[in-house]
């Protein structure tokens, strides 16, 4: 899904090629190949949607609970009884936590790399950030479970002291395998993708804009505020959506760190909850045919959620384009 996002902005060259009158063999082959790829993508997406929908309908029809509001997952029971409320909540909450942590940090790193760091430093740090993206998610999961979880207890105790009265940050001292921990871990995981896209966008800020700002006596921070940030805004949003896509669908790291349960805990610091992808990974092994269809139904909801998020991001970007100076 994220791949076609980055492809679509340049249909112009293809249209130009089609309009040319000289049709050489190479042109025709290439045009057909690219047309074929485009169609194949649509067919694959449609096939996935149809497959998910058919299997999902089977499960939802047989479901004794309410698919949207039931707090349980007994899909293998007879009759099956399951609902996605907890999964939807957990997926959204953990991803939102991840975004809240990752986006500001990523923008900071990107600005540092593109505008503050000397070139000698920026290049290796850039590699280091990209390297984070090459680590398999199960490794993040193990790191989270073995290293991060025990060390977050102290921080959570402190959060409980300061903000415990809100209920959202209440903490009982049990092992910190909660949605908050998952959010922190996901933030680390989506940091590289947001950082590198954002950095590329910031680097493309027209020199003329920046020099104009400098000429008007702007400080470096003012240059960034007046030229780089407005120019890069839609890029930052796109980058965040790429990261969000990864956070929504992350499976192994979540399954390794979270202590899943089918209860919604008001506190994000206490264990419990679950996400779509984690639940599918956990339940699939022992699922019967109905259990499998139920998991597919939950997968369909994740599919729709991701489509929705991407669509919303598109709308925001389209609306902001005129102000951003991206056409300059």
């Amino acid at each position: 899904m994220t791949v076609n996002d980055t492809k679509t902005p340049d249909p112009a060259p293809a249209a130009g090629a089609r309009g040319q009158s000289t049709t050489r063999l190479g042109d025709r082959v290439f045009s057909n190949l690219s047309k074929g790829s485009g169609i194949a993508l649509l067919v694959i997406m449609a096939a996935i949607a149809v497959f998910l929908a058919i299997r999902a309908v089977v499960a939802i029809r047989a479901n004794e609970g309410n698919f949207l509001t039931t707090f349980a997952w007994d899909a293998n029971a007879d009759p099956p009884y399951f609902g996605i409320a907890v999964l939807l909540f957990g997926t959204v909450v953990s991803s939102v936590i991840a975004m809240v942590i990752a986006v500001p940090v990523a923008v900071g790193i990107a600005l540092f790399l593109s505008h503050y760091a000397p070139r000698r430093l920026a290049t290796p740090i850039g590699y280091l950030v990209d390297l984070l993206a090459a680590v398999p998610s199960i490794i993040y999961g193990l790191w989270g479970a073995l290293y991060l979880v025990p060390r977050l207890t102290g921080t959570y105790d402190w959060l409980d002291d300061v903000l415990g009265w809100t209920g959202v940050f209440a903490y009982d001292g049990s092992p910190a395998r909660s949605l908050m921990t998952v959010g922190v871990l996901l933030a680390v995981m989506i940091l590289p993708i947001i950082t590198s896209v954002t950095r590329e966008v910031f680097q493309q800020t027209p020199k003329a804009h920046q020099e104009a700002a400098l000429a008007l006596g702007a400080t470096r921070w003012e240059v960034i505020r007046v030229t780089v940030l407005p120019f890069g805004r839609s890029g930052v949003i796109s980058a965040s959506m790429l990261g969000l896509g990864r956070a929504l669908g992350e499976t192994m790291a979540v399954a390794t760190v979270l202590s899943p349960s089918f209860l919604i805990n008001a506190s994000v610091l206490e264990s419990g909850g679950g996400t779509f992808a984690q639940n599918i990974a956990s339940q699939f092994k022992e699922a019967g045919s109905m259990g499998r269809d139920a998991l597919i139904a939950s997968g369909l909801v994740l599919f729709l959620l991701t489509l929705l998020v991407n669509g919303a991001a598109r709308l925001i970007i389209a609306r902001r384009k005129e102000y951003s100076g991206a056409n300059a």
């Binding site: 293998n76 590699y127 073995l146 092992p175 339940q283 022992e286 699922a287 259990g291």
Partner: protein, 374 residues
């Protein structure tokens, strides 16, 4: 992502990625997760080999270690045979078997009547699926309480601990079962499996049968208890117990041994609390009754036993086959392989890897059933 990047940069990035990959590989390499003790001898003297060929099977991960030894032994002694057992979990294994893609399934729980009916579609000559008990293993209760190497609990206390009704290790109910033991003032964190599991089903069957008032939840592969935390897979639970003081969880005995965890002695009402050992769970299998009919060898354990040295929380893991075989092409090989696993050599191999052999009179029936597959 990398919109403008020179070739040199790309090469450097690739090198870095390779280095990271190498790190990952070494990390996996040092972690022996096969679950087998260092040197298992795969050679046996007299093994009746079937015809060559490939046999596909899948299912329970609880019997994966036993299968590993059996498969390796069989293949080492019978050239040209390849047996491929995928530890996909009982549910997935049964699914594949019912679709006719595998010759047999490994399962820790019995098929439902509906599944037995469904099996008629893939079984030859109007046959149906039957259960062959092939190995058993004690489900150990591993705990992490510093300074308490020996701990006795009974079914009622266990049920209340896992149901979050007892929350401190110095609870009077625990102290009463452990006179003279200095129990710390420490919170109990019970851990259960987050994935569906035959181990969960066997433990909760024990709790439900032995202490129905303290464990009112129906036994199931999914966890029904209240509170506590969960983790993925037996190895996940082991990690949690090692990591957290005050933790208690359940897994097959081999996991506890490999990781040096203390295990609970179960107070069954016998004079001495019973330790989770291979011998003690063999004793439980000896008291099991065959409840299957018409050649089916499904077992029922006596959870209420008070006899000396009988460890009641035992997982029996079955091979599920068609009574007349399903695919004629693999029937002979299936029969030869299962004949070996149910044979003396196959059963003897179990004790070395923390499984309990099936008792003599029952395994005799299993052998007869296997030989009658035709």
């Amino acid at each position: 992502m990398k919109l403008s990047r020179t070739r040199g940069r790309r090469a450097l990035g690739l090198g870095a990625a390779l280095a990271a990959g190498a790190l990952v590989l070494t990390a996996c390499g040092t972690d022996d997760n096969s679950g087998l003790p260092g040197a298992v001898d795969f050679t046996v003297d007299d093994l009746d080999c079937g015809p060559g060929g490939t046999l596909l099977a899948s299912g329970s991960s609880a019997q994966a270690n036993a299968m590993e030894v059996w498969v390796n032994t069989y293949q080492a002694n019978c050239e040209g045979s390849q047996i491929n057992y995928k530890a996909t979990g009982s549910g997935a294994g049964v699914q594949e078997f019912l679709q006719g893609t595998t010759a047999f399934a490994g399962s820790d729980s019995l098929l439902s009547p509906a599944e037995v009916e469904e099996s008629r579609r893939v079984c030859r000559d109007g046959g149906r699926a039957i259960h062959l008990p092939m190995a058993a293993g004690p489900i150990a209760l591993g705990y992490n309480v510093p300074g308490v190497p020996d701990l006795a609990l009974d079914a009622s206390t266990l049920a209340r601990i896992f149901d979050s009704a007892i929350t401190r290790w110095d609870d009077p109910a625990i102290a009463a079962l452990n006179p003279g033991v200095d129990l710390p003032d420490l919170a109990i964190t019970p851990f259960h499996r987050s994935d569906g599991s035959g181990t969960t089903e066997n433990l909760t069957t024990y709790l439900h049968e032995s202490a129905p008032e303290d464990w009112p939840h129906e036994p199931d592969k999914a966890w029904r208890g209240r509170g506590g935390q969960s983790a993925d897979g037996s190895s996940g639970l082991v990690g949690m117990v090692q990591q957290n003081e005050g933790a208690i969880a359940y897994f097959e005995l081999s996991y506890a041994h490999q990781n040096g965890l203390d295990t609970v002695n179960v107070d069954t009402g016998a004079d001495e609390p019973v330790e989770a050992t291979v011998d003690n769970s063999s004793n439980a299998i000896g008291q099991a009754e065959v409840v299957g009919e018409d050649g089916d060898l499904a077992l029922e354990l006596d959870y209420a036993t008070r006899e000396e040295g009988v460890y009641p929380i035992v997982l029996v893991t079955y091979e599920i086959v068609c009574d007349g075989g399903n695919d004629p092409a693999t029937l002979d090989l299936t029969r030869a392989f299962l004949d070996y696993t149910a044979g003396e050599e196959g059963q003897r191999a179990l004790a070395e890897i923390d499984y309990a052999p099936i008792s003599d009179d029952i395994i005799e029936q299993v052998r007869n059933r296997v030989e009658a597959m035709d």
